[in-house]
Amino acid sequence: MHTKTLKAIVISIVIMLTIQGTAAASGPFGPPQPVSRPAGGLHTGFGYWLQEDKLKNNEEYISRQQQIYSELGYGFQKNWDLYARIGLSGLKLFDAFSPTTTATTTSKNDFSENWKFFSTLGVKGFYPVRPAFGIGAFIQGTYYFSDFTDNVTGIQSGAPFMAELGLKNLWDVNVGIGFQATIPWGINLYIGPYLYYAEAKVSPSANITGLALTSGETILRNNTVFGGFAGIDAPLSRGFRLQIEGKYADRLSGGAAVTYAY
């Protein structure tokens, strides 16, 4: 009965992600052990995450996203947790507008836009092996409700131009396992590997020679599929917990959140 629920949830996440497309920069995975109290507890959280990654089509570009989000989670079936986040994120793509020929000059090098809504959905399960040690698994996906756009102006072979670049349909999905150890004072330390896929569709308004990303509709994908994450989940006073996590795939990402379990 319990695997059926899991299957249903996984399927719905996958459906949600494929039909609606877009999500990106997933944010933290959180500790393997659910923050919600087991079997029917609710938890809420608020966090900040800085994500850096490498996206590539033919070239590699470094992306940076800063996001703040609000999280709501529900614990079920003893050690499972279903959680959802809604947040705001910015996106910066370094050197997106760096000209590759000397005939082109641009007003700026980086693509940047802020404050787009995204949502994340995830489910995790935890298996306590010992009182102070356990293993968990999760699947998490993010979807962006709108597209990032940015303009660039410049001169190309003597003629001024303006081009708009859109990064659309951002989404990602992550799956991984975590190992958690509990140390005194109720602090959980966790570490684990994960696999992920992130994608963004590039949509330029015009084709400008010397700006690689404007050559046409292309897809930016993550450069690496494999990464590792580690974090600390520590109790604060009065029912709050502090969560600090870092991830490393191509680049280092990290963030912190404060959660409250009802």
Partner: protein, 198 residues
């Protein structure tokens, strides 16, 4: 999840909270009486409609031990007490009790495990004290204060204050108003009708 330094804090908190409330005789008396009521309400043998009368009887007995009717009567009539003859006063006390019973008994019988917290006891004088308690329901907390007086060796309740509203004062205003336009016998008639009518 162990939190040793939080435990220290908790102990300190508990100490701080229990210090002023030297749970003295007044609070113990009120607590004992309320517990007796809860026992009746929770008694598994007294579930169901047929047991209602038995419960009411038992609750009445506890009420008489817990409350001081005459004091209640005197304070609700205040100055007007002197306007009544002694038999009228006696009847008033009885009628008032009946009014209260009619009004509240069903609500009390509908009690479903709300938690009662005894917060503190303060001595107003050698023979008077106030017990502050709280009832915790699913949607809110209701502060309730009992005012007790030492009479004949035992502490009896002579006023109940629910969320800042005193029972005695509330009725006093009503009786004052009525007695400003009616004589005592008419007041008694109003009370008799109320006990019968509803």
């Amino acid at each position: 999840m162990r939190r040793p330094f939080n435990a220290l804090l908790t102990i300190l908190m508990i100490l701080l909270f229990t210090l002023p409330a030297y749970a003295g005789v007044p609070m113990n008396t009120v607590q004992a009486n309320v517990n007796k009521v809860l026992d009746v309400l929770r008694d598994p043998k007294l579930k169901g409609e047929s047991a209602k009368e038995i419960k009411k009887k038992k609750l009445r007995a506890i009420y008489e031990q817990m409350f001081d009717d005459v004091e209640l009567g005197k304070r609700t009539l205040a100055r007007n007490w002197n306007r009544l003859t002694v038999p009228q006063r006696q009847e008033f006390v009885i009628l008032f009790r009946q009014v209260l019973e009619k009004a509240y008994i069903d609500k009390i019988l509908a009690y479903t495990n709300e938690k009662i917290v005894y917060e503190r006891e303060s001595m107003v004088s050698g023979t008077q004290a106030e017990i502050q308690t709280k009832i915790v329901t699913s949607s809110k907390e209701i502060p309730i204060t009992y005012k007790v007086i030492l009479k004949g060796g035992s502490w009896k309740v002579y006023d109940v204050i629910v969320e800042n509203v005193s029972l005695v004062l509330n009725y006093r205003t009503q009786f004052n108003d009525i007695l400003a336009k009616n004589n005592p016998e008419q007041l008694l008639e109003i009370l008799r009708k109320k006990v019968k009518g509803q």
